[in-house]
Each structure stands twice: as structure tokens, then as C-alpha cells.
Amino acid sequence: MLLIYCPYCEEERSELEFRQAGDAHIARPTNMTEMTDEDFEAFFFLRDNVKGLTFERWRHLNGCGRFFNAARDTVSDKFLTTYKAGLPRPDLSTLRPATEATVETYEATESNAK
């Protein structure tokens, strides 16, 4: 059961309150009727299905009700970040897992102590 940070509620909540809603950043074309069959297929059916960092939409259905975007690693299922709908894709180089395993070790604390 994932733990998801809702950018509107500004809090991590259980996956039980959310519904995944497919890939993010696929804008519905404004010139729908002018699209070729190929373009429509690409828009509606073809998906990158990334193994690794993916950008996807979630809806906080049983919470604030808002759709928002998330960057998630589909191998570890860890969220790198979540952000409000309409915002651009975040800069990959700045992304760190929002719920990163900040695993402390004794070595780490010892070096902090020094």
C-alpha cells in the first residue's frame, strides 16, 4: 500500500484514498478533428510504459478530489515527487525520492558526530 504525498493536502496519505489515472503530460489536442488515425492512436492508445521513472496522474479521490501529477520509479514504486496538475514536468536532475529511504546507518551517524 503506497504512501502518496498530495500536493493539495500537503500531506502523505494512504494509497486507499487515491486512484491512479494513467500517464501525465498527454495533453488532449485542441484540433481533435484534424488528427490523423496515427496521431489519434498515439494520443489515445500508445504508451511509453516506462520501466523506471514515469510521470503519471493520480486523483485524490477520497480526499481533496484533485487530480495531480507524480514522478514515480516503476521499479521501486518510490515517488520522486508529486506536483499540482498543470505544472510542467519537473527538472529530473533535481528530483529526489519524496519518500526516499534515508536509511541511517551507524557509520553515517558516526561521521556526523565527527
Binding site: 494509497e15 491512479q20 494513467g22 500508445l46 511509453d48 520501466k51 514515469t54 514504486d77
Partner: protein, 417 residues
């Protein structure tokens, strides 16, 4: 290769089973093959087997990044049935079912196909309409599928609760008697052994990292962690990871990969005589020949390659199972696991040529690919050998999403598996 039989077992029993040969070997890859199959699951190994057996192509490598049979073949709940609605689906699944019956003898490997019957429960009028539609269509397609009253359903499966006071009482069921289960590992191993016997190279721990193309765009071979291997024809049969591999050839796929979980109970003496599925309460169950209750349901909601999923999927699945079979509430979950399934928009597979010459793809089986294994492998071998689909898989193209000619079992029935 030495034939398996009761006599062989008896002979070996007398000498401590010292004489069994390896079921398959682990050869070093050649520089070039006629055909490379990516993915040593049941569908991939079966494809190699039928290429060798029916099309005379034996210079084949099956490349597997892990251990053979370790993907969905080794992780599924082994349900076999063919009572699909559309002619296209019924065609391919029944082709498979006919091959299941006799597969042990064909492979000389007991795959333990058990025609114990698959019963799909109807809980309301809508279910009934949908199931009747299936039953009538199946009958005219020559496929067995029959309607049972609740009492007949209980007779067929005594643990079933058919009381009218249940939250979702049962108003009937559709039964396919030829449906059932098989031993999943044996399917992979049986195909592997039979293919290896015909000269096929099964190369495990060999991960494909790239698909090589000729200047004219056609397939030239693959790059792997064990070097470059050339081939004029490459078949991608890597459920779950199809998108990743096809992307190497620049082909975007109409697929999303999801985690699919299943679980088994502790083993008990035989109590459950068939396979039962319910779409309305979302669960299915059978009992394995080891005595475990084998239980599964739908996928997690998000795309993932993690092979794990949430506890809530397990609990909801068991809710449903124990609602249908309240006597199992004191049973215990012994093991749960996850696999990755790739799902198409119409929930039907793709077995087809691709825009890249010499590249073929077999994918999109979603949660129900095991049942199709022999049929899928058989017609996919035909497709590769002839560079043209068999009439059975001709409708399962990649282009159907562009034209809109979908084979939408999900929309028509919303039945998983």
C-alpha cells in the same frame, strides 16, 4: 533424449536415479541463429518448440534474462479455459485448449493438465445476460460452456455458498467442463526439454540490451549482456517487459504493465473440485495438486515493474473468496507473490508482425496468458516461420487500435481471466 515413462522411473529407482540426463543444457550462444526468441516462458519456449517441430527451424536461441519459466509462467494461477465471447478469442483459446489435451504426451512431460472444470459465477441479471451471450456464442462456435442453476453449481462445487442471504447471492453459473488447470512449471520445463531435444539453445541469464537493425530497417539481431547475437528474425515474448524491449526497436506499444498478485493457502486434503471465478466479487480459486488453495484477483491500480503489490489487494481478494466460501475463513495464507502483466486497451493480446521487418511480438495477455500457452506458441511459430500470421492470430494485430477494430472482451463481458 531418453523417453520418460513409468519404466524409466522404475529403472532409475533401482539405481538411485543416477542415470537421468539434464532436461536441458546451458550452451554458449552462437554468433548467429535463424530465429531468436526473447523470453523463456511458456509462450517463448513453446514457440521455439513448434518452430522446430512443425516448421523445421531448429537453429533457434531462446534468450532469458533470468531463469526459464521464471516470469508469469511461474507466477500464475494456471487457469485454463476457452469460453470467450468473440470468434477471434474463442478461436485462439480453443486452439490452445485442444493442444492442452494431449500436451503431456506430445512433450513426453506430464504437465498435469487437469480438466476439472471452470465455473464462472453469475450474481445478478447483468451477469446472467453476459454469460448467456457467451454460452450461446460458444455453442455455435463448437465450444462447450453450459449454464448451471445455483443448485447445480453447488453440486459441482460443494463448498459454494448459494444462500439467498449472501451479500451477492448466486443466480447461476457458466461452466466449461474442459477448463481446468495445469502445473505451470511443468509447462515451461516440458517445452524447454522438448525444444532442447530438437536442438534449440536455451540461454539463461542472458539479458537483451538492444535490438540491432540493418540499414534497411529490418532486424539484424540483438545485443545482450553476453555479446551480440545475430538473427534475421526476432520474436519478443516477454510478458510484462514487452514495452521495454520493443522500445529498443523504436516501436511504441499500446501496453501498460501492472503488478498482479496471487496467494496460496496451507495445503489441505482435497476439498475443492474445480476452478471457480467470480467477476462481480473479483476473485478466483482452485486447489492445486499439492493441496493448496490457489487464489487470485485483479491487478494493482498503478503501472509497475516491481513484482510486488499492496496488502489491500490480497485482503479484498480474500474478502471475496470467503464470501463465496465461508468455510475457508479459518484457512491460512501461506505464501503470496506478484508478477507483472502487460495489458492492452481491449484486454486482448497482440500476436503479430510489427512495423519492423523480421520483428514479431507476442504480448498483452494481461492476467490470463497461461491458458493460451500452447495455442499462442503454436500460431506465433507459424507467424515467424511464414512471416505471415496464421488465420487464428490474424485478428490480433498491432494496427487494430488505429482502425478501431478491437476485440474487446473486457467491454463485452468485463470478465478477467
Amino acid at each position: 533424449m531418453r523417453k520418460y515413462s513409468v519404466f524409466a522411473v522404475a529403472r532409475e529407482a533401482m539405481r538411485g536415479h543416477r542415470g537421468w540426463e539434464a532436461q536441458w543444457t546451458s550452451p554458449e550462444p552462437r554468433k548467429e541463429y535463424d530465429v531468436i526468441i526473447i523470453g523463456a516462458g511458456g509462450h517463448g519456449l513453446g514457440t521455439a518448440y513448434y518452430l522446430a517441430k512443425e516448421h523445421g527451424i531448429t537453429n533457434i536461441a531462446v534468450l532469458e534474462k533470468g531463469w526459464l519459466g521464471g516470469g508469469n509462467t511461474g507466477r500464475n494461477t494456471t487457469i485454463i479455459r476457452s469460453n470467450y465471447l468473440y470468434d477471434e478469442s474463442a478461436g485462439i483459446y480453443d486452439h490452445a485448449l485442444k493442444l492442452w489435451d494431449g500436451l503431456s504426451q506430445d512433450l513426453n512431460y506430464n504437465v498435469m493438465y487437469s480438466a476439472r472444470g471452470v465455473m464462472m459465477l453469475s450474481h445478478n441479471i447483468h451477469d446472467q445476460q453476459v454469460f448467456k451471450r457467451h454460452i450461446h456464442a460458444n455453442r455455435l462456435n463448437g465450444i462447450d460452456n453450459e449454464w448451471l442453476t445455483p443448485e447445480q453449481a453447488k453440486e459441482f462445487c460443494p463448498p459454494l455458498d448459494i444462500s439467498r442471504t449472501a451479500r451477492y447471492p448466486i443466480n447461476g453459473a457458466a461452466l466449461q467442463r474442459r477448463g481446468g488447470t495445469a502445473r505451470h512449471d511443468a509447462v515451461a520445463w516440458g517445452y524447454a526439454r522438448a525444444a532442447a531435444d530438437r536442438g534449440v539453445h536455451i540461454i539463461q541469464n542472458c539479458e537483451v540490451t538492444g535490438i540491432r537493425r540493418n540499414p534497411d530497417g529490418s532486424v539484424a539481431g540483438v545485443d545482450t549482456n553476453r555479446g551480440q547475437i545475430n538473427a534475421k528474425k526476432v520474436g519478443v515474448v516477454a510478458a510484462g517487459h514487452t514495452s521495454v524491449l520493443m522500445e529498443m526497436a523504436g516501436v511504441r506499444m499500446p501496453l501498460v504493465s501492472y503488478p498482479l498478485q496471487a496467494l496460496v493457502s496451507e495445503p489441505i486434503k482435497p476439498i475443492f473440485p474445480c476452478v471457480v471465478m467470480s467477476n462481480t466479487v473479483h476473485a478466483y480459486i482452485s486447489q492445486s495438486d499439492k493441496g493448496e488453495l490457489v487464489i487470485g484477483a485483479g491487478t494493482d491500480q498503478y503501472s509497475s515493474y516491481s513484482q510486488t503489490g499492496g496488502l489491500q489487494i490480497i485482503t479484498h481478494t480474500l474478502d471475496a473468496i470467503c464470501e463465496l466460501f465461508p468455510i475457508f475463513r479459518r484457512m491460512k495464507m501461506m505464501r503470496s507473490w506478484g508478477g507483472i502483466v502487460d495489458v492492452t486497451p481491449d484486454r486482448s493480446p497482440i500476436l503479430a508482425k510489427t512495423p519492423v521487418s523480421g520483428l514479431y511480438v507476442n504480448c498483452g495477455w494481461g492476467t490470463g496468458g497461461f491458458k493460451a500457452t500452447p495455442g499462442s506458441a503454436n500460431v506465433f511459430a507459424h507467424t515467424i516461420a511464414n512471416d505471415a500470421p496464421h488465420k487464428i492470430n490474424a485478428p490480433f494485430t498491432l494496427e487494430r487500435f488505429r482502425s478501431g477494430r478491437l476485440i474487446d472482451e473486457a467491454a463485452a463481458a468485463a470478465v478477467a481471466h
